[in-house]
Structure formats: C-alpha cells, structure tokens
C-alpha cells in the first residue's frame, strides 16, 4: 500500500515532514506514485511553509529497483519518475533532505531533487544498482553531475560504490554534516530558520535559480531583472525593508 512507502505529517511551525521509507518489497513505481500523491497534497496546503524530506531511521528509502519487463515500460517509469522529481522541485517551499544512513539508488535520486542535503556522519551515498545493470532514471545522473561534476558522477555510477559522509561533504554533495543521530533535529532547526524569511523571495528565487541555470547568462539576467522588479509590487518587500529599518522582525505574507 502507498501509505507504507511514503508518509507526510504536519510538524511544528509549518514544517511538514515527508518520509520516504519505501520497503524492501515495494517497487519503484508504487513508491513514486505514493510520493506524487503526497507532493500534490502538501503543495495544496497553504499552511505548509517548508518540507523536510526524510528517509526515516536507518536507510533513506529502502525501495530496491527492479528491471522493467520491456523498454516501453522502462521509458514510462523513467518519464514518470522524472516528472515526480520535477514536482518535488516545484512546490514553492524550501525543501531540505536529511539523511541519517544509506541513501542509494532511487532514494539518492529523490534526495538530489531537494533544495539541498544535510546528513549525519553515518550517511553514505551511491548508485549500487549498476551491479544489476541499472542506471539512474529519475534525473539523478543529470542532477548529480551538475552538483559535483562529471568525473565524480561517473566514478560513483560506474563503480556502484558508496561514498562516505565526510567525502560527500568535502565535494559539496551535502551542505552540512552533523554527528550521527543529530541530523534530523538540526535540519528541522535550519528549515524553521529559513521559514522566517520571505516565502515570496524564497519561491521566486528558487524558480529563477532553476530556470537560469541551464540558459545563457544574458537571458538568465533578464529573467532575474524582471523577477526582481516584481518583488517591488508585493507586500514582503515593503514589510521586509521597513522591518529592517525599524530593527524588528518582519511578518511576511508570502507575496
């Protein structure tokens, strides 16, 4: 059942915890469908300010990949998986993935679709399914190579070896490294802190970063110029700047 593979619950101060546990028997397709439903539900809730993407206790998403029966089936699954990851990027809320243990295969692809990853010292990352002939199919190869470079991505995908947390931190795969068992608490703190910032600026900023990354500098800067100007038609800009001048905490509305 989808509920067992994926769950979401409202936490404190507008932080929703989206847990992608998967299980050893669950298929990637079932997990992706469940994840899709939860993303849609969270996106429709105005009181959700931030999303903490978690894998539960030890492993970040335990779903094993299995080969597809036909190329058509594999193509459909890949297309669907890629669209789910895109939707995860497009919720308009800050989304931090927190990893406490092994984060591999599909779980790694899901973590890569978050805004950034924080992890504990016991975490590991990789794509071990190459041993069964499987390569990433939810955008993981593209997101990872943009994040850590082509060579490191090839090293990980070719070898199937897992990268340890210290190395993952050194190469910028994870933004912050915490002692074992401490990552979830710290990630929630960080996300709560981020949620005190302007939701409008975070949403627009995230969209412009994503849209501008793969296009030329000149066009990206035009896009940014217009998005910047648009901020000055909203509430958050006036409130944020007035609060700064008054030396008080701003009360943002998100527009």
């Amino acid at each position: 059942m989808p509920e067992k593979l994926c769950s979401s619950k409202p936490g404190t101060e507008g932080i929703a915890v989206l847990t992608v546990t998967g299980n050893s028997g669950g298929s990637a397709k079932e997990l992706l469908h469940a994840l899709q439903l939860h993303i849609a539900a969270l996106s429709g809730k105005p009181d959700v300010k931030g999303i903490l993407l978690s894998g539960g206790h030890d492993r970040f998403c335990r779903c094993r990949l299995t080969g597809s029966k036909s190329p058509q089936e594999a193509a459909t699954l890949s297309g669907f998986g890629q669209s789910v990851m895109t939707n995860l990027e497009k919720t308009g809320r800050p989304c931090i993935a927190v990893v406490e243990g092994e984060c591999s295969g599909l779980g790694f692809e899901i973590a890569l679709a978050a805004d950034f990853i924080v992890a504990s010292e016991s975490s590991t990352f990789g794509f071990p399914d190459i041993a069964s002939g499987l390569i990433p199919f939810c955008g993981g190869s593209q997101r990872l190579s943009r994040l850590v470079g082509k060579s490191k991505t090839k090293e990980l995908i070719y070898s199937g070896e897992l990268l340890n947390a210290e190395e993952a931190h050194r190469i910028g795969l994870i933004n912050r490294l915490y002692p074992t068992g401490d990552a979830t608490v710290q990630a929630e703190k960080l996300l709560t802190h981020i949620c005190t910032r302007s939701p409008h600026a975070i949403r627009i900023g995230g969209e412009v970063v994503n849209a501008g990354y793969d296009i030329d500098l000149h066009t990206a800067c035009l896009l940014e110029r217009d998005a910047f100007a648009l901020c000055f038609a909203g509430f958050d800009q006036r409130e944020g700047m007035q609060a700064f001048l008054d030396k008080r905490q701003p009360q943002f509305e998100g527009n």
Partner: protein, 241 residues
C-alpha cells in the same frame, strides 16, 4: 571629473579601485555604481595597467547592496532600472580586457556579493562575512546573482545561501568555492599586491584572451568552445614565437 565614492591608485602595472564611501559600509548607490563604471572604463584605457584590483581596503567592508532606506520606496519600474544599472556594471567588468581581482577585505553582502562574483578571482581576508540576504528583506537579487552564484558554488549551496540569508565566514566561503583564496589579516594587502603584480607581469593580450575564452566557456558547448580556443590560440600564440 573627480570620484566621490572611490579612489584609483596605480602601482607596478596594477590599477587599484578602492571603494571608500566614507561610511562603515560601501553601499552600492546609483552614484557608486556609475563611478565604478567610469573607473573601469578609465583603467581599461590606461596602458600602464595590466590587472585591476577591486577592494574596500583598508575599510571594514568590501561592498554591500543598495541603501535600504531608498530601496523601500522603489516602484517596480525603479527596481527594474536599478537592476539594469547594476547589471551593466557587471557586464563592463566581465568584458573588460584586463583580469579583475576582487580583494574581499570584509563585509560583502547582497549587491556587494554580486559585485564580487563579477570579478575573475576572489580573495578574502580572514575576517570575511559574506551573505546574500534578499530573502530577509523580501526580495531576490537583481544583480545577476541568481545565475552566477549557482554556477560558482553549485545550486545546492546557492540555494542554502539565498534561503538562510545568513552571513558565511572565510573558511565556509573557501569550502564552497565562493572565494579562491583566504589571506590572513596581517599580510592581506601585501599578499594581494604581490599576487596582482605577478599576474600583471604576464603579457596582456594573453591574459585578455584567456579571460574571454574562459567566460565564453560557460555559455558555449564544448565543440564551439574548442573552435574558439583554436582560433584565439592561433592568433595569440603566434605573437610569441
């Protein structure tokens, strides 16, 4: 016409543009941005200069963004024009034929961070505090930062920096790749000068060609980039036989 917000010094083929707004922070006001454009044009045309260093030394800050007291009243068209002015300065710095070193002597925030990112190389004093705090005041940057920061530090660090709006120190900036080197406070300026002078000893046509090619690499596919490199190298390298 004299400058009010900065001064220019030239030593051993290095031109120094030193921001000095007379306050603790070097705010990127419309006047400051216009003076910076003029200063870069002046040093571009100065045959005695091979390398440009941009800094707020010996002050406490490199540069911060616009005056929030003024920006709070901006209409959307005001904001659009302000972004255009800032972006035109950064285009000028990037298309300048001479290498530009950002010597980040201290507080570098918002538009100041974008100014630093338009430099070819960034070197921080160990007291660096660098931030992109737009989300704290309800805006995003309009000075090319949303495109440049993700290409310098990767999307994930860029998103963290924008989302938290918090200041990061020199060690963190070095780890993320936001600065290329960190120098200790006591010998920051002598080391900046000697680094800039070492670069300035090299032939300017070669430095300019390398700058143009590396900037072009970002927006060009590998094959076209290699074609450009071959044409440029044919011309430049034949000058030195």
């Amino acid at each position: 016409m004299p400058y009010k917000k900065l001064r220019i010094e030239t030593v051993n083929r290095v031109g120094y543009i030193l921001l000095d707004a007379g306050s603790r922070f070097n705010k990127l006001s419309i006047t400051t941005i216009k003076e910076l454009k003029r200063a870069f044009l002046q040093l571009e045309q100065d045959d005695m200069v091979n390398v440009i260093v941009l800094s707020g030394y010996p002050g406490e800050s490199f540069a911060v963004g616009a005056d929030i007291g003024q920006m709070v009243h901006f209409s959307p068209p005001d904001a659009l024009h302000f972004a255009e002015l800032g972006q035109s300065l950064f285009e000028l710095i990037e298309s300048c034929s001479k290498p530009v070193i950002g010597a980040l002597n201290g507080i570098t925030m918002g538009g100041g961070c974008d100014l630093a990112m338009s430099c070819d190389i960034r070197i921080a004093r160990e007291t660096l505090q660098i931030a992109h705090p737009g989300a704290r005041i309800g805006i995003i940057t309009g000075f090319c930062g949303t495109r440049k920061l993700p290409h310098i530090v990767g999307k994930n660090f860029a998103r963290e920096i924008f989302m938290t709006s918090d200041p990061y120190n020199a060690a963190e900036a070095l780890h993320m790749g936001l600065v290329d080197r960190v120098y200790a406070t006591k010998d920051f300026w002598p080391k900046i000068m000697s680094f800039a002078e070492r670069i300035a000893e090299n032939p300017l046509p070669s430095l300019s060609a390398a700058k143009r090619l590396i900037n072009a690499a970002e927006d060009t596919d590998l094959r076209t980039g290699c074609l450009l490199e071959r044409e440029t190298a044919t011309h430049i390298n034949s000058l030195h036989y």
